[in-house]
């Protein structure tokens, strides 16, 4: 499956072995559910506040963390290196978690102690001025924003960053803005990047202001510009492909050294001015990343809590095999929270055309049994729809009664099937051929058989699973999928996953839903200038696609992390589903 920026862990972890428990990094924020034995479900999942801030909110410095002090070194125990540090090549949260302290963007998210997100101006004085109902956006840069060499960050650098997104070596990054700036679904055909001396006509600069002229109305364009794919890059220090190894910093830290797959050291960028930054605190003096440490080994070291490991954080979720040990031996140093990902099982509308059959599958689906096999409560909270509680406008709306009967209701499903005269309908379920998914398949098979279906399981090779289910003419009826929005509004949930134009080979509309009403609703919500109204419209679309039986809601994914005893305020970034480097501090 092609995954959203924030969904890299879903793509690489759970997708490969759905037993992997997704987890996040938060200690005590209100968005984090209590994992102390309480049941996690959508009804209990507290939605977080997501709002657009004012110019006042965009002023630095960031509010101080109580008890925090500057200094010290933090050690990060990573299993893998970051795939990219060049902002234009960054899409996934794994990279954004570190990029957020290296690259500032026009806008960004100010995270409250309660986990709330406020969109503020990061490099810009505010969240932008919208005209033409979202077709024109103007941003003005703050005073005192500098690169790591002390030179000013200019609008030329901002434009250069946007234009680099068209280059032939930045194909990994997001392409939303490129499409809107050129009006073409193949933006590189219209513009090939800044290296041939040409600028994009749709971007204008004047003094400290930069104006974007979009081909379509995008009232939430200021959210989109918080993506690292659209971060500025200094014209004078653009090393093209080599920029990926050592980007030029505009954030509170800079890369001191980086040996691929082995280590990376970040030290303070002395030219970063906290008074211009409403988002980042930046307490530690240094971050020392070691790559190649197995997740299990990292947790063993953190449980032992000796030497430098007292100042360490596990960069990856606690593996399922270590959760009990970690939460028993060092409960006060583990923390769980809801991530932004939603797990679902797609129902292929091309093949399962009868609504009654879809309803019967959904009603019979043994969500509780599946969750037990995949880590229980740490796997996630029962989902009722597609929209995560971490997306603006989320509403819990249990269309299929999954909260009341998470174990499934085969009897009711059989009734529905019988009434429709569809008893004995064949359901082909495709799954990744690994031990956990093989067990999950048995649970599903039992439930669907009990409901009166003829069940056929098709194990697929994990490495080609998404290629196979990504074909429009795939021969499967039901298959797993995970998703999280690229920014916390409904657009990047519903446009890529449910609009009929996205029913293409290797597209993201895996259910192949083609519904004119849904398309119209998506268009209306996309164009709605009033974001409060737009959020309500996205929530309505969530209910609409759920009712159409495009998918079986599974869970809103949870994450669980661990840190050493000498670190404080280690919290989760709800936007990137990982630890906020810029909020933690060294205790002693």
């Amino acid at each position: 499956m092609s995954f959203s920026r924030r969904n890299f862990l879903i793509a690489t972890g759970v997708a490969a072995a759905s037993s992997t428990v997704l987890s996040a990094c938060s200690s005590g924020s209100s968005n984090s559910g209590n994992s102390n034995g309480g049941k996690h479900d959508a009804a209990k999942a507290n939605t977080i506040t997501i709002k657009v801030g004012t110019a006042e909110d965009s002023k630095g410095p960031a509010p101080e963390v109580s008890g925090a002090k500057k200094g010290g070194k933090v050690y990060l125990l990573n299993d893998d290196d970051f795939s990219h540090l060049d902002p234009q090549r960054i899409y996934y949260a794994w990279n954004s978690l570190v990029e957020v302290v290296l690259a500032r963007t026009l806008t960004g998210y100010k995270i409250g102690d309660d986990g709330s997100m406020t969109l503020v101006g990061d490099l810009a004085v505010d969240t932008g001025v919208m005209k033409d109902e979202g077709k024109t956006w103007t941003f003005t840069l703050k005073d005192g924003i500098k690169w790591e060499d002390g030179s000013d960050i200019t609008v030329d650098d901002v434009r250069h960053g946007m234009e680099r997104g068209f280059a032939d070596f930045t194909t990994e990054g997001a392409t939303y803005a490129q499409v809107w700036l050129t009006g073409s679904e193949e933006p590189r055909k219209s513009y090939s990047g800044p290296y041939k001396g040409k600028h994009l006509k749709s971007i204008e600069t004047s003094g400290k202001s930069i104006t974007f002229h979009l081909a379509e109305a995008r009232p939430d364009f200021n959210y989109v510009l918080a993506m690292h794919s659209y971060a500025p890059v200094p014209v004078k220090h653009d090393t093209k492909q080599a920029y990926d190894k050592k980007p030029f910093s505009s954030g509170p830290y800079k890369v001191k050294s980086h040996t691929t797959d082995k280590s990376m050291v970040l030290v303070r960028n002395e030219h970063w001015d906290p008074n211009t930054d409403p988002i980042r605190n930046a307490y530690p003096d240094e971050f020392d990343f070691t790559f190649g440490i197995e997740a299990e080994t990292a947790i063993d070291r953190l449980i032992a809590d000796t030497g430098n490991d007292q100042y360490a954080v596990s960069w990856r979720t606690i593996p399922q095999s270590k959760i009990q040990q970690a939460t028993t031996k060092a409960k006060d140093r583990t923390f769980t929270a809801l991530g932004s990902g939603t797990s679902v099982y797609w129902i292929n509308q091309t093949r399962v055309t009868d609504m009654s059959v879809r309803e019967a599958i959904i009603r019979a689906w043994p969500t509780a049994g599946i969750r037990r096999l995949q880590g229980g409560e740490n796997r996630g909270d029962y989902a009722t729809g597609f929209m995560s509680p971490l997306v603006a406008g989320y509403k819990s709306q249990d269309v299929w009664g999954k909260l009341k009967k998470p174990e499934g209701d085969p009897a009711k499903a059989k009734e529905v099937l019988k009434k429709a005269g569809k008893l004995g309908t064949k359901v082909v379920y495709a799954y990744q051929n690994d031990p956990v998914n093989a067990k999950v398949k048995v649970v599903i098979e039992n439930a669907l058989t009990k409901a009166g279906f003829e069940f056929v399981g098709k194990p697929l090779d994990s490495t080609t699973f998404y290629d196979q289910i990504g074909m429009v003419d795939n021969p499967y009826d039901v298959y797993w999928g995970g998703w999280s929005a690229d920014w916390p509004t409904g657009y990047s949930d519903f446009m890529p996953c449910f609009h009929s134009s996205k029913v293409v080979d290797q597209g993201n509309n895996y259910s192949h839903l083609k519904n004119k009403d849904v398309d119209a609703a998506i268009k209306a919500a996309t164009e709605e200038v009033d974001q409060t109204k737009a959020n309500d419209m996205w929530a309505a679309i969530d209910k609409q696609v759920t009712e159409l039986g495009a998918f079986i809601p599974d869970v809103y994914m949870r994450r669980i992390y661990m840190h050493g005893s000498k670190l404080g305020n280690v919290k989760m970034d709800p936007n990137f589903d990982g630890c906020m480097l810029y909020k933690m501090y060294v205790k002693a």
């Binding site: 920026r5 032939d168 194909t171 193949e186 990926d244 082995k262 070691t290 032992a304 490495t463 290629d467």
Partner: protein, 326 residues
């Protein structure tokens, strides 16, 4: 000797050529597209084609193989990235580094692991094996044989975490495994690799104990050894000058192959102790669908095994005068 070496080196070159060709073909037989990983979420056919072109994987397969092969001798030019000087083993579009550079960077870790552990397992393995052979049938022999049987049936992925738990996490007797270049800090190099050496050596010591014992017992029953004894030579002379020398031949052969394998990367050991050597590089290359890197590691690994075999053949002849280099 010269003729022998030339002939074996030519044979080695052909072996490596075949291995590289097979690896190349096998990799492409797997239905995974390396370009997909670099294509982002909204991957249009045009973008995919652009990436394939940049990676040089839009050429016919034989052409790609030829480009790779010729690069070893004349270097390659990668559009937009630069020139890769000969010997060019390729460029990794995942790591964005030259394959040879990465292999060179990882090799010291693997070499340190292999050499350090081999010193330990050779000393203890051969020593214990000889002792058991001398004391054949006695308590020492039985203890050594039983212990080596138990140790040789253990696996790194079991012994490694147990050793870490006991020696590092609980008792703090030894340091957390890590690689520090010898030239940078010899003490840190030694202490950081001690646990992996001991664990790797524990299993290999057992194997060498068993092999040494059986070879020695067999050699001690040979006619020429009996003759030496009958001539009244001392036990020490019989043992070291005759029996030991005769028993070492097969051991050297096995050690040569083992060293070749170890230098190619002890994958499980490196993964268990989070050491970034050639083994881990190979594993990651497979996971990342990184053909150039995988091919580079495979060739280097194969080269070590092939070279080790040539060295073994030469050393064998020196140890055992009965063997002549034909």
């Amino acid at each position: 000797m010269l003729r022998f070496l030339v002939r074996r080196l030519l044979g080695a070159a052909v072996t490596l050529l075949i291995i590289s060709a097979i690896t190349f073909m096998l990799f492409y037989a797997v239905p995974r597209d390396p370009a997909r990983m670099a294509c982002g979420k909204v991957c249009t056919p045009d973008t995919l084609e652009l990436i394939r072109h940049n990676m040089g994987i839009d050429d016919p397969l034989p052409q790609q193989y030829w480009n790779w092969l010729s690069g070893i001798f004349v270097g390659r030019d990668y559009t937009g990235i630069g020139n890769c000087n000969a010997p060019c083993l390729g460029y990794s579009f995942v790591n964005h580094e030259s394959v040879l550079g990465t292999v060179k960077d990882r090799f010291p870790t693997t070499a340190s692991l292999a050499l350090g552990s081999s010193v330990v397992f050779l000393i203890f393995g051969i020593g214990t094996g000889m002792l058991a052979a001398v004391k054949q049938g006695k308590a020492l022999d039985k203890i050594a044989s039983s212990a080596s049987l138990v140790a040789s049936s253990m696996q790194i992925y079991f012994v490694g975490p147990v050793a870490l738990y006991l020696l590092v996490y609980q008792t703090h007797l030894l340091d957390q495994p890590a690689y520090t270049p010898f030239t940078e800090n010899p003490a840190a190099w030694f202490t950081g690799l001690l646990v992996p050496w001991l664990v790797l050596a524990l299993i290999w010591t057992a194997n060498y104990t068993r092999m040494t014992r059986s070879q020695m017992v067999e050699t001690l029953s040979e006619d020429y050894v009996r003759t030496a004894r009958a001539k009244g030579l001392s036990q020490r002379t019989v043992f070291f000058r005759f029996a030991w020398r005769g028993a070492m031949g097969p051991l050297v052969t096995i050690f040569g192959i083992d060293m070749g394998v170890l230098l190619g990367g002890a994958m499980i050991t490196e993964k268990t102790f989070s050491l970034q050597g050639l083994g881990m590089l190979a594993v990651k290359s497979v996971i990342n669908n990184d053909l150039p890197m995988l091919l580079g590691v495979m060739i280097v690994t194969a080269a070590f095994v092939v070279l080790a075999n040539i060295v073994v053949d030469a050393v064998y002849a020196m140890i055992d005068p009965r063997i002549r280099l034909a």
